[in-house]
Structures are given as structure tokens and as C-alpha cells.
């Protein structure tokens, strides 16, 4: 068993969904329940392999890659099928494995218009493979391929099943991301050629860069290419404008996956690829990344305050929250990177939950306009409570998961890596702390306007407005539980991420000497 896991475990986890896709393609469209069953079973099968991997993972050695499979893939360009899991990717893989089945369960009676569960779920499973693949890839080209694979299903999800502006939103999402990844690919290729490497292995490339004679200026440029690719995906200010449109137009499931996992591909890329391969350039870039991060925190919050649409508000809050994650990364310290990974998982759970609620509100009220809503707590008390809970988590309340992404990031900015200006980062720290007030402001304002008060007359006696139903409960409860559990036992993630984060942090400590 362990032998199988050591070699084929990851591959099984990543590609099992594609088997499901093949099966579903062969099934006629009309067999909807069966199709849903196959989709769920496949995602659970993937999760099953994932759980096996997670239980066999050696947590004492979370800094090193485990279950590595490294075989030749496209020989002509020296790219290999090279995958593994370490403490940085593990939490994100776990998050992905959790989110997809829950989204499929939610889809049971929430297939958005114009229907066609078959196509919708097939896309979802392809997306699942893409996301997992990105998190396990150790080879740059493989990473790039998975990174792009993710794009298409989401593009169709928004473009076909989205809201009235879906065309514009989906194309914007697709092109913007693609633009960034083009530059990223340039950097990958240039890195490969300039180092004279014989493979695209991330670790090896990092080692080669440190011994090679690539000038600092070139490294900074290469980092810039990666920055565009990852930064747009995060998204960082000022490259975030695709996000509110994509989120607002996407169907609920799309928004949840987008918020929960897709945005993390960018931040993950920074931690996995950009920092370790180009550390010297990272030091040069870090103050700017930190600056954009704190601008994003304040700017995203202000954007939220100006919104009249619930879903768009939540979308903008992602800009602010990912700002904390990026601030943590930009400190180049163990603390900051730990905080960033925690922040990714926490944001995934919390914002995913908020999008679920927004979707269910939309389904019942047929609008998300904040001023028309109100009194959710009276009409659907349990949903109102969950909304309250999720907003509290989102504003970084200690005791819930959001806090552990936020406070350690602020804390890490007090003492950034050697070579970075302490005064500057302390300034960032203060601004980021200020952002917590704004976050509380827009979230509580949202809660007050939608959940508190009395329902407006147009909805007061609407029989369609019912409390959460079974499929919603099944999809939501794991989110709710995890938000609390991680809030009280942050060690569940920090104990895994600490070793690899420390390894990266140490790299920057040594760099200065």
C-alpha cells in the first residue's frame, strides 16, 4: 500500500477525476441523478487517495517533498512529470479535496441556469484535476500546464452559467490571467535557458540560480514576469479588476471555487516558485509587493464600502484579504509565510462560505442588492446566523480561522527579513492594522443591512424564502466546523507549514550574510 502511495498516490489523486469525466461523457444528458452521483463519487475517490496520502505523510519531515514521482514526460524539452507534496502544498491540497465534493453536493439541487448538469460537473472535475495538479507540480512546465488547465473550465463556467454580464466577465477573467501567465512562461523559459539547466525542476533551478552568474538586473526582470503571472491571479492591486466581475457573474459554485482555491494558485506560486528560485530578486521586489499588498488591503476595503451588491462586496473583500497574505509573503520571514499559508486556507473557507450564502440569498430573493435585503435573520434565521458567523470570521475574529492569517501577517511585518527596510515594513504594519477596522466596518455594515432589521415589504410574505435546506447544510457544515476548529487549534496548520516556511525564511537570513 505504502509502496503504491509513494509512487502512484499523487497521480491517482490528481487524475481519478478525469476517469469520472470519461464516464460521464459516455452517459446521456438525461441521466442527471446518475451523473451527479458519478461526479460526487469521483471527487470522493480523489479525496480518498488524498486522505491516504495525508495520513501517510511524514509530518516530522514536512519540509521535504514526499510521495515524489519523477518520470520523463516530454523529453525533447527536458520537462518531466515530477510531482510531490510538502508542508506548503499539503494544506492547500486538503482544502481543494474538501471544497470540490462539497460544491458538487451543493450542486445537487442548485444547477444554475441554463442547466445541463453533465457539462457543468464535467468542468468541475477538470477544474479539480487542474487545481490539484498545480499544487503538486515540481516541474515548471508541468506547473504551467496545470495552471492553465484551470483556466478553461472556469472560463466556461462563468461564460455559460454566469449572470447577465457573463460574456464580458469571462473573457476578461480569461485574458487577464492568460496575459499574466504568458509573461510568467517567459520567465520560466528564460530561467531554464539562462541557468543552462537540464530540467525544469524547481529546486534544481533554484540551486543553479544561486551558483550561476545571472546578473541581479536579469533576476529582477525574471521575477517581474513571475510577479505578473502570480500577482494577477492573486489578484494584487492594481491587477484585481477582473475579480469583482468574475465573482459577481460566476455561478455560486464558480465563485466558491474561485475564492476558495483559484486565488491561492497565485500566492502559492510566489511561495513555491518565485521566492525559492529567485531569492535575491525577491528581496528587491519585496518592498514593492508589500506596498501593493497594503494598498490592496485599504483599497479593497474602500471598494467594499462603496458596493451596493452583496456578492460584489464579498468579491472586493477578497482583494483586501489576499493583501494580508501577500504582506506576509513580502516580509520573506518564516512567520510571514506561515501566516500566508494559513491565510490562504482561512480565506478559502471563509470567503467560500460567504459566497455560498450569497448564492442561496440570491436564489431566494432573486436579488443581491443590499438595500432591498434585510431581516434575513427573521425569514431564514439559520442562514442569517451563518452569515453572521462568516462575517465575524472574515473580519478576523480571534477564535475563528481568519485571525491566524491576519494577525501573524501584521506581526511579521514588524520584523521583515534582513535586507528589507524595517521602518518601511513597520509602516505597512500600521496600515494593515488599520485595515482590520475597515474590514469590520464593511462586513458588519453588510450584516446589519441584510440580516438585521425587518424584511422589506416586497419580500415580507414571499413563500420562496425558506431556511437552509439539506444539500446546503451538508455543503456548509464542514466549512463552519473547520473555521472554528482552525480558529482554536491553529497548530493543525502551523505545525505542518512551519518547517518548510522556516526553510524559506532561513534562506533569506543566510542571503544577507
Amino acid at each position: 500500500m505504502t509502496e503504491f502511495l509513494d509512487t502512484w498516490g499523487i497521480t491517482a489523486m490528481v487524475f481519478v477525476p478525469l476517469l469520472g469525466v470519461a464516464l460521464m461523457m459516455a452517459m446521456p444528458k438525461t441521466m442527471e441523478p446518475a451523473i451527479k452521483g458519478v461526479a460526487l463519487a469521483t471527487s470522493l475517490a480523489s479525496a480518498f487517495f488524498g486522505v491516504l496520502l495525508l495520513t501517510n505523510f511524514n509530518y516530522d519531515d514536512s519540509a521535504s517533498m514526499q510521495f515524489v514521482q519523477d518520470v520523463s514526460w516530454i523529453e525533447i524539452i527536458n520537462t518531466r512529470y515530477n510531482v510531490g507534496i510538502d508542508g506548503i502544498s499539503l494544506p492547500l491540497i486538503a482544502l481543494t479535496l474538501l471544497v470540490t465534493p462539497l460544491v458538487i453536493i451543493y450542486s445537487w439541487n442548485h444547477i444554475p441556469k441554463p442547466g445541463n448538469a453533465k457539462a457543468f460537473l464535467i468542468l468541475m472535475l477538470i477544474l479539480h484535476t487542474g487545481m490539484l495538479g498545480t499544487f503538486v507540480a515540481k516541474d515548471l512546465i508541468l506547473f504551467f500546464v496545470f495552471f492553465e488547465v484551470v483556466l478553461l473550465p472556469m472560463y466556461f463556467m462563468i461564460g455559460v452559467w454566469g449572470g447577465p454580464q457573463r460574456l464580458y466577465a469571462s473573457i476578461k477573467f480569461f485574458l487577464y490571467t492568460l496575459f499574466g501567465s504568458a509573461l510568467m512562461l517567459v520567465s520560466f523559459l528564460a530561467l531554464y535557458w539562462l541557468t543552462g539547466s537540464e530540467s525544469f525542476d524547481i529546486v534544481k533551478l533554484g540551486e543553479l540560480v544561486s551558483t550561476s552568474d545571472i546578473t541581479h538586473g536579469t533576476q529582477v526582470l525574471l521575477f517581474g514576469g513571475m510577479f505578473m503571472g502570480f500577482g494577477i491571479k492573486v489578484p494584487m492591486f492594481p491587477f484585481h479588476t477582473w475579480l469583482p466581475d468574475a465573482h459577481t457573474q460566476a455561478p455560486t459554485q464558480g465563485s466558491v471555487i474561485l475564492a476558495a482555491v483559484l486565488l491561492k494558485l497565485g500566492t502559492y506560486g510566489f511561495i513555491r516558485i518565485a521566492l525559492p528560485t529567485l531569492p535575491e530578486a525577491a528581496v528587491t521586489w519585496a518592498p514593492w509587493i508589500g506596498l501593493l499588498a497594503v494598498i490592496g488591503i485599504i483599497y479593497g476595503a474602500l471598494g467594499c464600502l462603496a458596493q451596493t451588491d452583496m456578492k460584489r462586496l464579498i468579491a472586493f473583500s477578497s482583494v483586501a484579504h489576499m493583501g494580508y497574505v501577500m504582506l506576509g509573503i513580502s516580509t520573506l520571514t518564516d512567520f510571514g509565510i506561515n501566516a500566508a499559508i494559513f491565510g490562504m486556507v482561512a480565506h478559502g473557507l471563509i470567503t467560500g462560505m460567504l459566497f455560498f450564502i450569497a448564492g442561496s440569498v440570491k436564489e431566494r430573493y432573486h436579488t443581491l442588492e443590499i438595500k432591498r435585503l434585510g431581516g434575513l435573520l427573521l425569514q431564514a434565521p439559520r442562514m442569517g446566523w451563518i452569515l453572521g458567523f462568516a462575517t465575524m470570521a472574515s473580519l478576523g475574529l480571534p477564535g475563528l480561522a481568519g485571525f491566524w492569517g491576519e494577525f501573524p501577517a501584521i506581526l511579521s511585518a514588524y520584523n521583515p527579513a534582513p535586507g528589507l527596510s524595517t521602518g518601511l515594513f513597520r509602516g505597512y504594519m500600521v496600515v494593515a492594522a488599520l485595515g482590520t477596522v475597515l474590514a469590520a466596518g464593511y462586513l458588519l455594515w453588510l450584516l446589519q443591512r441584510t440580516a438585521f432589521g425587518k424584511p422589506s415589504e416586497e419580500f415580507a410574505d414571499d413563500p420562496e424564502i425558506v431556511d437552509a435546506v439539506l444539500s446546503e447544510w451538508i455543503a456548509w457544515v464542514p466549512f463552519l466546523i473547520l473555521i472554528v476548529v482552525l480558529g482554536f487549534f491553529p497548530g493543525l496548520i502551523f505545525d505542518i507549514t512551519d518547517a518548510p516556511s522556516t526553510a524559506i525564511g532561513d534562506m533569506f537570513k543566510v542571503l544577507d550574510k
Partner: protein, 797 residues
């Protein structure tokens, strides 16, 4: 170190001290039970709440007695001159640490910690995979003193050899220590456990009647439990991180309870205001704790932070400048949480919640959290703000301004709860002032006594409102109530007298001690000469008596102005009142000054018991330093003068109302009084009724400004600048794409591609085709661009 092994037989630390986590855990459990099962129970959840808080109270009482016994035992040992027993292997140096300036023995904190999580550099040293709930293995009970580091280290190496085994595995291996969660038992926390659980229990009982029939009765009790639990969790914090968690949980519970009747917008507005104002202060909390974390060699441990703060200016101490920054940041947090000027504005609005909640917030939980934190990290403030030997510092000044500013506002309120709310602001200012002038024990003592009489007053106000058909308007709906509700009247009277500092009630003792602590009155000594705080404190003493006289008159004397006959409340309301009034009468005797005790011929050991029990050992370590800590000496003349001030002010107000009553029994104010005649006074009155215009500034200018113009401008920028750049770029690339397609692609590539591509250019007709067309387009373009750019790199370098 300590009180160690040999002393109180600490080998086996008292069971209750190791398991004191049960005290917050019980109400936390009760929260979940009520939430999930409460509605199905006959009393709809209230029984679970009362039972668990009652149990927690029992444990707290047990802890209190164990603690007191422990202190008393060690003191009697001292008087027996069996002093050696106190010190480990009789090292003389340790005696010094164990004694305060008057030779009394102080309680050392008993810290029980388990590892919470580790972060930052424990990659190879902390390999053990540990579920944080697995407490047994890592459980360490080190009875350490926040005393002198060097001795602590020496000590752990020999006399506690077996104990240090656990200790070492948990700590010394890793370079960045694991972050712990635990309980901190010392006089200060035990005192708070007692106060919080007692007041909470009484509030629970009271509420069963007061909110009877409420639409969310069950939720109300659930949050009452959670509120209590959060406060207890914070009180027991052994690390600053844990303190932050508890601090914020208290805040969110208050949000839920203040906004309990959220159907009406003013209530949810008040809840939002409370939460957001506290968030503003929390910036200071987060930054202050961050500064301390790094200053104390990356540690959240309160013990370590305090140790290093004491050593400020010496080797191994924290730089004084850092301490000052941290102390000022933390003061911002205190200002919001403990309602200090200028962040106090949420506190009177918090009256929107049910009255028993107000009692809980104002007496035992929430608002005293700030004061409690100052006490917990006292060395940080002591050194950071240079409390010793000074005339003024930020804390004392903020306290002084708050105490007078809040007191003034209390005069112009019609709402009985608002008077009490501003009185709380004023009294919290008193506590902060006390801590600011270095009168640690006096500040804590005032926190203690205030909890009882203020809870009594709030619950009394609730009882009055219950009788007057849920009105709180003293002028419109009250008057002459003493005849109708004698029990409420009597208890309210006792509470008011205690608040006004009339001897021998509780407030007198604590207030007097604070005034003495300012070190201004001849013969009091103290830690400095704080003239301004002293004068402000004196003013407040007079003002408090005056505005409470006004409240009493308007509520209980004169003629009844409401409609329908009022009635006395039921026993579930009056019994808590009687208990609290009883306590408000007697708890002051816990800290009688020695000269007083001697004059009365009482046993000498009855003097300053509260000080002996509550004052932490850390305080004693200031002794011997140049800026050491001393206790102010009591002064009979000061006590007399302060009392006369209060009595005089109260008497003047009484005379005013008597005269008014004689003129018109229904009147509540002179229609042609000074206010009408003298313009400057009228302006001053308007200034007060508008609450110094602070609310206008906050909600009208800052909040509305941010939400309005600033946010709108940012969003406009987003939509019309950032987004337009993208749209233009997009349109441009589509144009370029079409151009390439038409003139290059179509010209060179075969007709098959051509056909599908034509569909693509007729955008929008067929979604699938458009999409696949675009995608293909871009894939081609991207790879072309990538190859091109990569080539540029190759050529360039």
C-alpha cells in the same frame, strides 16, 4: 522559584489551580448546549446557563479560598519567623524577592500551560506531532515568579530538577519557543474569577424574570454564557496572544448582546458602534503586542514580558523606548475597551442592550478588561510610562480627563441608564487614573468594589424600568418610587452611597486609597506627585455624589409622573439586588488601612487584606530599584476632606431639588433657572448634551466620510481608471487580433481554420464558437509572444 516545592507543599499544586480552566470551560460548554438544545428545555435554556455559571462560581469561590489560605499560611509562617521555609535552601537573596516593602508575602502566579502551536523556527527541534488537545504530556505546572530571571534559571537547575524535565522538553530544545495556552492564577485573576462569576450568576438569575417572554430568550442566555466564558478566558490568559483572543471574544459577545433586539436599527447601530470603536483601539492592541513580542525575544509569554520589562535599562531587559511605544499602543486599546476619553462614546450607546447585559458589561466584563490588562502587564506600563517619581503620564492623564469628562455628562442625562453609563465611564477613569499614578492595589480594589455597586445600580435601574413599563426616562415616567418599590429603593440607595464614596460603604475605601495614591496630600508618600489627577479625582468625588443625588431624587422622590401604578419587582429581581447591596456595603472592609485597624483595636492582621491577597509578586521586584514601587500611606485628613466634598455636593443638589419641589411638586427642573438666563452656561449645557460633539465627529465626519466620499472615490477610480485601462487594452488586442487574423492568418493558413474562425469573428451569436475562437486566438498569441520575449532575453543577456 518561589513559594516553591518546600513552601506550600507546591509539589502538589492545589487541584483547583491546575484545573482552573474549568471555570471558563463550563460556561463555554453551556453556550453550545443552550444553542443546540436550549429551545427544547422547559426553561428554554436558562437552566443550563444558571447551572453552569453557578458551578463556575463554586469553583471560583473554591479557588479564592484556596488562594487566600495559601497567602495567609505563608504569612503566618513569616510571622513565626520560620522564614527559611519560604526560601529554597535558605538562600538569603530570595527573601528579598519574597517580600514587599512592608514585609508582606505576596502570591506568586501559578502558571499552567500546554503547547498551543509552534511557529517560527522550530523545524528540527520540535518534531513531535502534537494535537493541541493532548494536554497531558506537555502539561507543565511551573510555579514561577515573574521575579528575577537569573534566580529563576539557577533555581530550575537544582531544586526543581524533576519538574524541569518536562519543562525542558517543552521549551529549551527549540530556539523559538512553542506558543502556549494556559491559565495564570494569582491574586488578580482569582479576584476577577470571583467577581465575574458572581455578577454573572446574579445577572443570569435576574434575567430569567427580566427578559421573560423575550422572542430570543434562548439565544440571550446562550450569549450570556459565552460572554462570561470569554471574559474568564481572558482573565486567565498566560500569554498576550491568548489575551488578544479573549479580548476580542468579549467584544463580539457584547456586539451580540447589545444588538439583541436587532429588528430596530438604533439597537444594531449601537452594536456596530461598540464593535467598531473597539476595533479602533484594537489596532493599538495588535501593534502593542507585536512590539512586545519582538522586544521579549519573540515571546508572547506575559511572564517573560513582565520579567524583561522590570529589567528595562539593564542587561536582559527591554529597551525603554520600545516599552513606551508598546505602553502607548496598549493605552489605545484600553481607551476603547474601558471607555476612556476619547473612545468612550460607544459605552453609553451600549445601553441599547437589555439592562442585565448592561450590568454585566459595566460591572464585571468587557469594560474592566482594559483595566485588567493594565494590571496584568503592569511592569510594561510602569517602565514604559515612567510612572514612578513623575507628575503626570499618559495613563494618569487619560484617566483624569475621563473621570471628570464622564462625570460631567452624567448630569445632563434624562435616561437613568445613561447616567449610570457615564458614571461607569467616570469610574473607569478613576481606575485608570489609579494605575497611572502607581496605585496598583487601589485601582484593582476600585475595580472590585465598583463591580458590586455598579451591578447593583444597573439591576436596580432595570427593576425601576420594569415597574415603569419599560421606560428609562427619569423625568417623564418616574418620581416618588420609593413608596412603591421599597426593596429596589433601599438597594439602589446603598449602591448610590457606595458609588458616591460615603463611609463606610465600599466605594469610600477604594476611592480614598486612589486619592492617597496620587501622592499629593501631605504624608501620603506614593510614587510621585500627581497634582492634576488628584485634583480631578477630588472633583469627581464631589460630582459623583451630586449626580447620584439627582438620580435618586428624580427617580425615588418627588411625585410619580408616569401613568399606571408602579409595582415592586419579583424576587428573582430583588434577591440579586439585595445580595449586591450587601456586598457593596461590606467589601470595603477588606482593605482597611493599618492605622484605622489599630485605632479601632481590631486584630492587626485584618488590615489591607485585599492588598495581601491580590497584589502580585511582581510588584515587589520593583523594590530596591531607583524607581521602585511603594505603597501610599493612608491619611485620615484626606479621607475626611474627600467625604466632606462628596457630602457637600450631594447636599447642595438635594437642597436644589427640595426647593424646586416646594415650588412645584411635579417639576423636574427650573424653567427659568440659570441655564435660561446665562448664555455661556447654555452653551456649556449644549456642549454637554451633544456629548462634546464627539459622536458628530465620529459618525458624521469620519465614518460617513470614509463610507461616502472616500470609498466612492476609490471605487470610481477602480471603475473608470484601472478597469478602463484593461478594457482599452482588451479592445486593442481584439483589434490587433482581428487585424492579424484577417491579413496574416487568413492569408496563409488553410480554409479549414478559416471556416471556424469566421464564426469566431461574428462574436456573440454562438457562445461556444466565440469562446473557442477567442481561446484559440489567445493561445496562439500567447505562445508567440512568449517565444518572442524569451528570444529577446536570450539575445540580451
Amino acid at each position: 522559584m518561589i513559594f516553591s516545592a518546600e513552601n506550600v507543599d507546591a509539589e502538589s499544586v492545589a487541584w483547583i489551580f491546575e484545573n482552573v480552566w474549568l471555570v471558563p470551560a463550563l460556561p463555554a460548554l453551556s453556550f453550545f448546549l443552550i444553542l443546540f438544545f436550549g429551545k427544547k428545555l422547559p426553561k428554554r435554556g436558562a437552566e443550563i446557563g444558571i447551572f453552569s455559571v453557578g458551578l463556575a462560581f463554586g469553583l471560583a469561590v473554591f479557588a479564592t479560598f484556596t488562594w487566600i489560605t495559601q497567602i495567609n499560611d505563608s504569612q503566618s509562617e513569616k510571622t513565626d519567623e520560620s522564614y527559611a521555609a519560604l526560601s529554597i535552601e535558605g538562600e538569603p537573596s530570595q527573601k528579598v524577592i519574597l517580600t514587599a516593602d512592608d514585609g508582606a508575602v505576596r502570591g506568586k502566579p501559578i502558571i499552567t500551560e500546554v503547547e498551543w502551536f509552534s511557529i517560527g523556527g522550530s523545524s528540527d527541534s520540535h518534531s513531535e506531532e502534537e494535537a493541541p488537545s493532548e494536554t497531558s504530556k506537555e502539561n507543565k505546572t511551573a510555579i514561577d515568579s515573574p521575579a528575577i530571571v537569573a534566580i529563576a534559571a539557577e533555581d530550575s537547575s537544582d531544586s526543581e530538577a524533576d519538574k524541569s524535565d518536562d519543562y525542558a522538553t517543552a521549551h529549551s530544545e527549540s530556539d523559538a519557543p512553542a506558543i502556549s495556552i494556559g491559565t495564570w492564577v494569582d491574586g488578580q485573576s482569582v479576584m476577577m474569577l470571583f467577581v465575574v462569576t458572581l455578577v454573572s450568576l446574579l445577572v443570569h438569575v435576574y434575567s430569567t424574570d427580566y427578559v421573560h417572554g423575550d422572542r430570543r430568550f434562548t439565544h440571550y442566555f446562550a450569549f450570556l454564557s459565552l460572554f462570561t466564558s470569554a471574559m474568564l478566558f481572558m482573565v486567565l490568559s498566560s500569554s498576550t496572544l491568548q489575551l488578544i483572543v479573549g479580548w476580542e471574544l468579549v467584544g463580539v459577545c457584547s456586539f451580540a448582546l447589545i444588538g439583541h433586539w436587532w429588528e430596530d436599527k438604533p439597537n444594531s447601530d449601537a452594536a456596530l458602534k461598540a464593535f467598531l470603536t473597539n476595533r479602533v483601539g484594537d489596532i493599538g492592541l495588535l501593534i502593542g503586542m507585536t512590539v512586545l513580542y519582538f522586544a521579549a525575544d519573540k515571546s508572547f509569554s506575559i511572564e517573560k514580558i513582565n520579567q524583561m520589562a522590570v529589567l528595562s535599562g539593564q542587561e536582559g531587559g527591554i529597551d525603554k523606548g520600545l516599552l513606551t511605544i508598546a505602553a502607548l499602543c496598549l493605552m489605545a486599546a484600553v481607551m476603547s475597551k474601558s471607555g476612556q476619553f476619547i473612545l468612550h462614546t460607544w459605552l453609553p450607546d451600549a445601553m441599547a442592550g437589555p439592562t442585565p447585559v448592561s450590568a454585566l458589561i459595566h460591572a464585571a466584563t468587557m469594560v474592566v478588561a482594559g483595566v485588567y490588562m493594565i494590571g496584568r502587564l503592569y511592569p510594561v506600563f510602569w517602565e514604559g510610562l515612567t510612572i514612578a517619581g513623575s507628575n503626570i503620564n499618559a495613563m494618569a492623564l487619560i484617566g483624569a480627563i475621563t473621570t471628570v469628562g464622564g462625570g460631567l455628562l452624567a448630569f445632563v442625562q434624562r435616561d437613568i441608564k445613561k447616567v449610570l453609563a457615564y458614571s461607569t465611564v467616570s469610574q473607569l477613569g478613576y481606575m485608570v487614573l489609579a494605575l497611572g499614578v502607581g496605585a496598583y492595589t487601589a485601582g484593582m480594589f476600585h475595580l472590585f468594589t465598583h463591580a458590586f455597586f455598579k451591578a447593583c445600580l444597573f439591576l436596580g435601574a432595570g427593576s425601576v424600568s420594569h415597574a415603569c413599563h419599560h421606560s428609562f426616562d427619569m423625568k417623564a415616567d418616574m418620581g416618588g418610587l420609593r413608596k412603591y418599590m421599597p426593596k429596589t429603593f433601599a438597594t439602589f440607595m446603598i449602591g448610590s452611597l457606595a458609588l458616591a464614596g460615603i463611609p463606610p460603604l465600599a466605594g469610600f475605601w477604594s476611592k480614598d486609597e486612589i486619592l492617597a495614591g496620587a501622592g499629593v496630600w501631605p504624608g501620603t508618600g506614593g510614587n510621585g506627585t500627581y497634582y492634576i489627577p488628584f485634583i480631578f479625582g477630588m472633583l469627581t468625588a464631589a460630582m459623583t455624589a451630586a449626580y447620584m443625588t439627582r438620580v435618586i431624587w428624580l427617580t425615588f422622590f418627588g411625585t410619580y409622573r408616569g401613568h399606571e401604578k408602579p409595582h415592586e419587582s419579583g424576587s428573582r429581581i430583588t434577591i440579586p439586588l439585595i445580595v449586591l447591596a450587601g456586598l457593596a456595603s461590606v467589601v470595603g472592609f477588606l482593605n482597611m488601612p493599618s492605622p484605622f485597624v489599630e485605632t479601632l483595636g481590631l486584630p492587626k492582621s485584618w488590615a489591607h487584606k485585599f492588598e495581601d491577597w491580590v497584589e502580585p509578586a511582581g510588584i515587589a521586584t520593583f523594590v530596591g530599584k531607583a524607581n521602585g514601587f511603594t505603597h501610599a500611606k493612608p491619611s485620615l485628613s484626606l479621607a475626611i476632606v474627600a467625604t466632606l466634598c462628596a457630602v457637600g455636593a450631594g447636599g447642595a443638589v438635594l437642597a436644589y431639588y427640595k426647593k424646586l419641589y416646594a415650588k412645584d411638586p411635579q417639576a423636574t427642573e427650573y424653567s427659568d433657572g440659570f441655564l435660561a438666563k446665562v448664555p455661556p452656561l447654555r452653551a456649556g449645557y449644549a456642549f454637554l448634551t451633544n456629548k462634546y460633539y464627539l459622536d458628530h465627529l465620529y459618525s458624521g465626519v469620519i465614518a460617513a466620510g470614509t463610507k461616502g466620499p472616500v470609498a466612492k472615490a476609490a471605487y470610481w477610480f477602480n471603475q473608470n481608471v484601472l478597469d478602463q485601462v484593461i478594457n482599452v487594452a482588451g479592445k486593442l488586442s481584439v483589434f490587433v487580433g482581428r487585424f492579424i487574423y484577417r491579413f496574416i492568418d487568413q492569408g496563409t493558413i488553410d480554409g479549414l481554420v478559416n471556416a471556424s474562425g469566421r464564426g469566431a469573428s461574428e462574436s456573440g451569436e454562438s457562445l461556444r464558437q466565440v469562446q473557442s475562437g477567442q481561446v484559440r486566438h489567445y493561445a496562439v498569441m500567447m505562445f508567440a509572444a512568449a517565444a518572442l520575449l524569451a528570444a529577446v532575453f536570450m539575445v540580451d543577456f
